[in-house]
Symmetry: D3
Subunit: 202 residues, 6 copies
Amino acid sequence: MTSQRPALSRFPIPELSTLPQDLRDRILAVQEKSGFIPSVFLALAHRPDEFRAFFAYHDALMERESGLTKGEREMIVVATSSANQCLYCVVAHGAILRIREKAPLLADQLATNYRKADITPRQRAMLDYAMKVSQRAFEIDDGDFETLQAHGFSQDDIWDIGSVAAFFGMSNRLANAMSLRPNEEFHLMGRIPKEKAPSQGN
Amino acid sequence: MTSQRPALSRFPIPELSTLPQDLRDRILAVQEKSGFIPSVFLALAHRPDEFRAFFAYHDALMERESGLTKGEREMIVVATSSANQCLYCVVAHGAILRIREKAPLLADQLATNYRKADITPRQRAMLDYAMKVSQRAFEIDDGDFETLQAHGFSQDDIWDIGSVAAFFGMSNRLANAMSLRPNEEFHLMGRIPKEKAPSQGN
Amino acid sequence: MTSQRPALSRFPIPELSTLPQDLRDRILAVQEKSGFIPSVFLALAHRPDEFRAFFAYHDALMERESGLTKGEREMIVVATSSANQCLYCVVAHGAILRIREKAPLLADQLATNYRKADITPRQRAMLDYAMKVSQRAFEIDDGDFETLQAHGFSQDDIWDIGSVAAFFGMSNRLANAMSLRPNEEFHLMGRIPKEKAPSQGN
Amino acid sequence: MTSQRPALSRFPIPELSTLPQDLRDRILAVQEKSGFIPSVFLALAHRPDEFRAFFAYHDALMERESGLTKGEREMIVVATSSANQCLYCVVAHGAILRIREKAPLLADQLATNYRKADITPRQRAMLDYAMKVSQRAFEIDDGDFETLQAHGFSQDDIWDIGSVAAFFGMSNRLANAMSLRPNEEFHLMGRIPKEKAPSQGN
Amino acid sequence: MTSQRPALSRFPIPELSTLPQDLRDRILAVQEKSGFIPSVFLALAHRPDEFRAFFAYHDALMERESGLTKGEREMIVVATSSANQCLYCVVAHGAILRIREKAPLLADQLATNYRKADITPRQRAMLDYAMKVSQRAFEIDDGDFETLQAHGFSQDDIWDIGSVAAFFGMSNRLANAMSLRPNEEFHLMGRIPKEKAPSQGN
Amino acid sequence: MTSQRPALSRFPIPELSTLPQDLRDRILAVQEKSGFIPSVFLALAHRPDEFRAFFAYHDALMERESGLTKGEREMIVVATSSANQCLYCVVAHGAILRIREKAPLLADQLATNYRKADITPRQRAMLDYAMKVSQRAFEIDDGDFETLQAHGFSQDDIWDIGSVAAFFGMSNRLANAMSLRPNEEFHLMGRIPKEKAPSQGN
């Protein structure tokens, strides 16, 4: 381990000043909100069209009105990203999950063995399906839909679970190909109760 | 097997007339070009934002100028989609590959065992990496990049190989969750030399 | 890809004129019927005793009176050969299946993901068992037999399903060791309705 | 465990007297030689054509002149049958191997972890290839042939190694589907040096 | 295979005379009882503290009063050690199992495919759980405990099954890292009925 | 998720006052040092002999003089425990690793994908071997030893790497069978630089 700062990505990181205006705006907005620029924004910036499509897709899934809470969507991200051994997604979305759910232990549980996490039976069914989409989608059959419906998930909810798992299946592969390094800030975010720590966004 | 037409997707297919104008335009354009509407356009249409992001991402990767030919990018799609057992992508992109490469046997070869396909050593290296991104991206290391560079692939080419494999890793999972059914037309496209068969686009 | 004809097998192909009479007769008969000599006949010919035993076994299983139709036995071949990534068997028996079942899409479906194929529940149960014999026969237990019997399969039918899967498990391994190349004719056979295409045998 | 004799097979065992003459002759000959009838002869007898083809194939591979000794072919059988968890083949061919090689420990070694067996480097290369044919034949490439040739194996020898592994791949699946029970005699055969034990054939 | 004696371990074997008194006493006691020194005692002796802890743990599990017979605990050892391909444990504990259960065939059955062994349904449930602990303990859930309780296993029995499987999971890894060679005596022990063979201990 | 405290283990936790004196002493000592009682001490206490052997073995490996630093041994624990999806070991030993190495990010890196961790090439070789012992020890061969020796590891170091991986292979299985819950304290330990946080031991 050298003392020099490890590379953020195997691929080029353009200067912010050279980026198209819409990318720069998006990046500055997230920096304003979070206090730092999550690496994924910089690592995709050398491909503006892919950057735009990636975040458009991300937002369409993660920000929409849904029968799943935003925290539940982050649970899917952490559990499936761990199965894909994606360092960036586990660490970054682990932080977001801790904050959204105000649950400082949950991300570590989901990242190690989602079967041991402090979640409801409905959330367990959600993650069982998300993991199947992530790891062996070719085996999905009508029985999976019946199980989810028995837990109260609508057809739209099932679409959301599967699509979040599929989107981060892509994201995990991109990040592993890049060797994308998570920002140090993520490791600690959401671990300390608000009354003890300074405010953090995501 | 009943005589009734099998469902195109497990999820709802909206009426074309109810879609936002830009989706309708895109769908009519592909119908004009291909002579039919590939199922994926209909199956994603109930989620307009996801539809837009999906095809924006698809086009950014598959239509851009690249050190990979469009045919080579379709080789990646067929080989990795077969590893993910995705019926829609293997059949639809197998058709596109046959047409783009004017190679009526190649898609069947790549879909069964890409190691037996009639391709160059450079294309074999491309597919070895694409399959690694698709199936065990967490093991990617610098050695993979050195191998690709020895075959003349630039850093941008390597990004393209990995991103196509990653994007269709998502697409395969979406299609398997939907149980998306390929259009019958795809099965025969590009199998018969032009002089014997009517013209086909993609 | 060179313009030179790719090798049919890694092992020697004897001249037809040098073969024992019974091998020559068998080969000429299949050529007469199909219009070409399927590669497997040439590739096994350098070992006459093994050639004889192979085709005797093949015919004993595939030609006998059975509770399974000949088309159903070909379904087993295509699905299990795909799991074993055997190019020759998927392509050659895919052709035979299309012709026997007059089902131009079925082989592509079974070769990609047999769970998505247009088959009856009884045929699905048949393929579930065939895939288990093919991929993890050591786990077979009485429950598998009960499931098959509930679908109306007799003890003899169950023997046939398992034996076809086992025989092609051997055949797939032989073909992959040889790198046996399927005849080009197979790729197109049975894809075009009879009224549009010239007659084809198998 | 009941005191009643466990079934030899899940499928019917015909009376010897009802069998075609050639099957009866073969069975009586092996009984004369070994002192008992190995179960596989009885278990296949209800299908005379398959019985004939099976043993014709077996003899063509296991009895022919070859660059592999008969003992080496049995090594392949034991190692690959263990990978396929086939009780009958491991126990029966373990016995034959002990006798052929006069090596009372070798079968137990190969059946547990062939990498730990008392064999030559050439035999280790033979088993590495046999295991690849048995477990992932779809990955075989020219490099495998070069490795074997470097150990002095001819093209015919490589065919033999692969064919024995492939044939017993079929046999293992048949035996597991039948739940074929090995004769008790096999368990002890070849374990005790000749001067201490009564003569045993195979 | 050379005529020279194969190494017992990849790591050093100290002279008996150089060992601490308690190790020497233990080793001489087992030699007195068995007629030879099982290799594991010699192979661990270069690390006296680990030797003491290993055998203390072993005895705590294997010698204690339990709802499992000593023979049943050896069944767990043989089945799980086979799944881990541990030559020493399969051969040595196979011998002990044959003697304890007076069942000359049982170890070969469990070492090849425990699903085919001559055991009771209760013992089958015990081994199903032991194999799950051994191969995919992360999937254990309350359903496993309910299944075992339905077969009459107490909470203490379930602890014992899991702990024996876990302890030999460690032991198998140590033996494979050492390449620990089983004593020749083990291969034959317990195979010949007492009236025919000289007395054997363990 | 209920507000009630989740169970520490599926198995009984005895009252401290009922324990043998030596167990009580050990438990009080660790509580004195760490400020809390790590769950594993309570969860093993219902089996005093196993408790003693477990911690004797643990200490023999983790506390001895070695060519591996204590921090390096904890790296092995975290990486292999993650491969075994053991929540307790990943969280508890992740905390110890952060403290020993004064490296707040390292445990998260090793727990997600050890190939991406900030470690030296020598430590990477150590973990490659540890993971092989943990996941497929049956494949270890002389080449593994040569690789480690080329990185300067002595025979004793190699023993230590393998034994730590093997011991925690047991520990992971025990913890998953118990569903052992890590103390909340571990999740945050070592994440905050000393100048900002109160002192923590292990």
